[in-house]
């Protein structure tokens, strides 16, 4: 009896390589290319073949991929920062100063982390808009839309918990204000906030809690859901861009051509990722992440503003009772957002930017309506209408809550019905119009909060504020 021999025991180098990379590189034919994608850990997040029209850059704008790139940059720089930072009120701010003055490339690494985090909020939001406007959430992708909404919330939570860590004035008060929103949730709110802060006010326990959330719990949850999200994209495939007349965008005939992921998709992704990384590094070389004076619990700066992605919410709070500004309106908005893909949808609109010709006009109508209504209402509420003063005997929950909320709700419902009647829009197009109306309103509120609110949160012109 002889032992069965390995065919090539002596070729060690070759054997090690093959145990890592199973397929020939570079692959010789399409079959080989598909096998590399299937058998490679990173590439296997892709299907082995993709529909050619979906490669069109101006369809996806690379926004999903860019989000992943930013998450990767955040993970790398974040772990680096962990080595020079201690989450304790006594040391946190000192560590920030040391990071900026003593650590080699400390400021640069912090800048990359800071800007990537902020950019991720914008990019994830734009990605959501892209998918909405091209109807990419249609069956079977409904649940992936819901996962996406969850991811957007996690991204905001990651930014919010990271916000506190430098322990400067901005951080301290932004988090005080942000976490106080929670205490308006009926019954459990107060307890929830105390739980999150580890006590009644922002303090040492808050910093420890937020650090744990920021470096472990949120990133792990995010990575898990992101993997699920991408896996679903692979299984469900991308929606295919269509022109207004129903023909397929980027294809000669209506026959969808499929091409191998390697190299057609992968090469585009690599080039795009390299260009974007270059731009982010350049930006981070020139623009420093802000750092204000050390946190001082005795003194709120004036104006004390929340992080910029919460400024829309903070602006709402200036106009509505907190139960509405902080809870009811955001919860309704989020609920409606999550239910978007379960609404009736005109199937011929999938893959068409803004659904149809009328849909495009309705999108413009929604944007214009918001541009007129929001500044008008904000100015009216600031200078003319003062419901709590006009109705002094009624609790502010009604005078400053139910009444303005019902008024705004009626306006939106009236707008929806109006669009359907006057412009003969389908329900699908009318909903698109309302969506644009609400999104533009939210963006406007954010802009007003950032650029038009100065000392004492009074309305001012941008050059007096910034």
């Amino acid at each position: 009896m002889t032992e069965p021999f390995d065919p090539r025991p002596e070729d060690l180098k070759q054997r090690v390589w093959e145990s890592i990379q199973r397929d020939e590189l570079p692959p010789k034919d399409d079959r080989g290319r598909m096998r590399v994608v299937m058998n490679n850990l990173v590439l296997h997040l892709h299907p082995s073949k993709v529909a050619k029209p979906t490669l069109k850059f101006t369809y996806t704008w690379g926004l999903g991929g860019l989000s992943i790139l930013l998450v990767a940059l955040l993970a790398v720089t974040g772990v680096m920062l962990m080595f020079v930072y201690t989450p304790s009120p006594a040391t946190a701010y000192m560590d920030m100063l040391a990071l900026q003055t003593e650590v080699w490339f400390g400021q640069f690494v912090r800048n990359i982390h800071h800007w990537s985090g902020n950019l991720l909020v914008i990019v994830a939001f734009l990605h959501l808009l892209r998918v909405f406007f091209t109807g990419g959430f249609r069956t079977p992708r409904e649940f992936n839309w819901v996962l996406g909404v969850g991811l957007l919330l996690l991204v905001v939570a990651a930014n919010f918990t990271g916000y506190l860590l430098p322990w400067d004035q901005l951080a301290y008060w932004a988090v005080t204000v942000g976490s106080s929103l929670l205490s308006y949730v009926p019954v459990i709110g107060e307890g929830l906030r105390n739980f999150l802060l580890g006590g009644p006010e922002v303090g040492a326990a808050t910093l420890t809690n937020f650090y744990g959330l920021h470096v472990a719990i949120i990133p792990l949850t995010l990575m898990g859901i992101v993997s699920f999200h991408i896996w679903r994209v692979r299984k469900d495939t991308l929606s295919i861009p269509h022109k207004l007349d129903g023909t397929i965008d980027g294809a000669e005939s209506n026959q969808v051509e499929k091409v191998t992921t390697l190299p057609h998709l992968v090469s585009r992704e690599v080039v795009f990722a390299l260009v974007m990384t270059g731009l982010i590094l350049l930006w981070s070389m020139w623009v420093n992440a802000p750092l204000e004076a050390a946190a001082n619990p005795d003194h709120s700066p004036n104006p004390a503003k929340a992080a910029w992605y919460f400024m829309g919410l903070q602006e709402l709070l200036l106009h509505f009772h907190p139960v509405f500004g902080a809870i009811v309106i955001p919860a309704l908005g989020l609920g409606a957002l999550a239910l978007v893909p379960y609404q009736r949808f005109d199937l011929s609109a999938e893959g068409v930017w803004f659904r149809s010709t009328k849909g495009r006009r309705m999108a413009i109508a929604g944007a214009l309506s918001a541009l007129v209504a929001v500044p008008l209402l904000v100015v009216l509420d600031e200078y003319v209408i003062d419901l709590p003063a006009m109705l002094p005997t009624i609790p502010t929950l009604i005078s400053n809550g139910w009444i303005p909320f019902a008024a705004v709700l009626l306006l939106v419902i009236g707008y929806y019905e109006g669009v359907k009647r006057v412009f003969k829009a389908t329900a699908c197009e009318a909903r698109l119009s309302v969506f644009v109306l609400l999104v533009v309103s939210f963006v406007l509120l954010t802009v007003i909060g950032i650029a038009f609110r100065g000392e004492g949160m009074a309305l001012m012109l941008p050059w007096e504020v910034l």
Binding site: G198, H299, P322, T396, A458
Partner: protein, 165 residues
Amino acid sequence: MTDNPSENVTRRDFLKIAWGAAGALALVETGGVVLSFFSPRVAEGEFGGMIEAGLVDSFAPASVTPFTQGRFYLVRMPDGGFVALYRKCTHLGCAVPWNPSENRFVCPCHASAFEMDGQVINAPAPRPLDRFAVIIEGGMVKVDTSTPIQRDHATDADLVYAEVP
């Protein structure tokens, strides 16, 4: 035993329910452990408990004296009554400074304003500034800062007077 199967729980059903209940119980227990592990360890008498603010006569009527450590203002109203106001804005928690020129508290965060006794004069704050219990003993004003007291309206009943000698 009846012949109607819908009135009987079969062995299979019973086991299903039992497993389900055991699973749910395990989940609740795990949740309880996690929640209690992370719950805040609040020390008795936050902010230093009872604070001796000073002698009654050292506070002029119609004056507002900040106590930074205790996070409150000791207010003496024009009629001589005392009230201790927690400096945390009832809107979203900013530290509210006293503005002597306007004779009111004005919150820098969202422009809530409060009268000297804590009453809201300008929304968005939903209720007056919370107060701490004031005790006057032998001419000494003491403030119990362990629990802020919430109120819907600031009333004269909140004021504490030194006993007339």
